[in-house]
Amino acid sequence: MELRYDQSDVQASKRLAGRRGLFARANVAGISMKFGATVLFLLLQWVNVPLPNTPRTADGKPNLTAPVPRTSDGKPDLSGLWRNPDGKYLANIAADGIVVPFQPGAEALYKERQENFSKDRPSGRCLPHGIPDAMLVPATPFKLVQTPGVTLILYENQGRFRQVFTDGRDFPKQMDPTWLGYSVGKWDGDTFVADTRGLNDQTYLDDGGHPHSDAYHAVERFHRRDFGHMDMELTIDDPKAYQRPWKVTFHFELFPDNEIMESVCENELDWQHRVGK
């Protein structure tokens, strides 16, 4: 079977690219008011691909409220391109009025980062966004590829990946601290639970600079409500940085009939020249 591209797809993708530019600007706007940010990536054009597994309405459009697709073992299939369209969470994961139970040291560090406009944040040096903020960049969606043994998270942002293992393995006895940690997944009914440990203390939880320590243990609970919508409840368990575990729920929208683009960060060194207080 050969899927065909027609000119309207190309036009649609151009419109989409335009929208995407808007999102990027909106995203940066949240930061740029405060930070005077530049756009770190040139935004290329997404490819519109009419995918065979997309359920459609009578007029041929993707049916985003169709039932959740399922794998052969009856579990929800989370595979697809997802995006959090609201840039406020990238700027501040506690934007919904969550009271963050900081430990004093973490609060001081957060305040310092706020005051210097997060000029040292890792993504400013082409280092990874972490968990959860790599999923929160509105201009760059992520793709889930669910297989029996592993679920892949392919981030368009910086072209990086994460693996959530579901082949029965446990955490290694010894883990070198890493940017994206070591993730083991399991099902709790129709909710996919990714448990991540072995993280270093380098990533920011958001661009605003909520910190974490190397004791950070992240639990992400993914629930696909219907074809076009998925929620993820993140529990941040990090007793060195926070007095108790705290939770944030993010909402993702499917980005149908599309593919992630390549986004390679080329030693962007401008960000650190931004001057804070």
């Binding site: 079977m1 050969e2 899927l3 065909r4 591209y5 190309v10 290329l44 054009q45 490819v47 519109n48 691909v49 995918l51 065979p52 597994n53 040096r125 082409c126 280092l127 990874p128 590829v145 297989t147 043994g149 592993v150 892949l152 392919l154 072209g159 990086r160 990946f161 693996q163 082949d167 029965g168 393995r169 290694p172 010894q174 070198d176 890493t178 940017w179 994206l180 593919e259 683009m261 390549e262 390679v264 960060c265 080329e266 030693n267």
Partner: protein, 244 residues
């Protein structure tokens, strides 16, 4: 060039006993067991692979003699190799390309194969590549990119990946075999048994080479382990290496 330094401190690969690894009577991975079958009864290439010899990264044409360069490409290659590969993209944390992302002996790669695509996860720099097998064709317009746009198909038990849409920036190997944006790469993946894979890479780039040319690269499975994270942190030392 042979003295190329190791850009990364190597963490320790973990050892874990994976359930799908076939074993010899004494419990060791049986690397000569039949290749596993995946979707539609075709070979499943999933696993962690490592190039069988590091010589290919140091010269991709080592087994075939000189590539059929166009004059400008020969001149550029000479300049780059005389300068010991200085200015190669990977020294700026930019990915090795196709095929040389698979040629870094210190950094294996993992294949995850599904019905709809083959994903290649490179340990080096934590980058990935997708080869689509869901029936889509090449898009009418693509922005030039480091890894291009890849479509896969089956030819018997051989998985064939075609890739176009490249920029002209990546190098085929560390000394700098160049290519243009007219590059089209065909990779023919074969897995004769559990522990071995070959990829025959055909370079078709009429702007840079007078005719298509092919190299066949062997890979060994790394059983019972997992990739480790390797993030390139603005490695800038290599730029200070001085060539001729």
């Amino acid at each position: 060039m042979k003295l190329a330094f190791i850009a990364f401190l190597l963490g320790q690969w973990i050892s874990l006993s994976l359930p799908n690894t076939p074993r010899t009577p004494e419990g060791k991975p049986d690397l000569y067991a039949p290749s596993p079958k995946g979707y539609n009864g075709r070979p499943d290439f999933s696993g962690i692979w490592r190039v069988a010899a590091s010589k290919y990264l140091f010269n991709i044409t080592v087994d075939i003699g000189e590539a059929p360069f166009q004059p400008w490409a020969a001149e550029l290659y000479k300049r780059r190799s005389d300068a010991l590969g200085k200015d190669r993209p990977s020294e700026r944390c930019i990915p090795h390309g196709i095929p040389d992302g698979m040629l870094v002996a210190n950094s294996p790669f993992k294949i995850v194969q599904t019905a709809g695509e083959m994903v290649i996860l490179y340990e080096e720099f934590n980058h990935f590549r997708q080869i689509f097998t869901d029936g889509r064709g090449f898009p009418p317009e693509t922005s030039p990119s480091w890894f291009g746009y890849s479509i896969g198909r089956w030819d018997g038990d051989t998985f064939v990946a075609e890739t176009t849409g490249f920029n002209d920036q990546s190098w085929f190997d560390d000394p700098g075999h160049p290519h243009s944006d007219a590059l089209r790469v065909t990779e023919r993946f074969r897995r004769p048994d559990f522990g071995h894979m070959t990829v025959e890479v055909t370079i078709d780039d009429p702007k840079a080479y007078t005719k298509p040319w092919s190299v066949k690269i062997p890979f060994n499975l790394l059983p019972d382990t997992e990739l480790i994270e390797s993030i390139c942190e603005n490695e800038r030392d290599h730029a200070h290496i001085v060539g001729k």
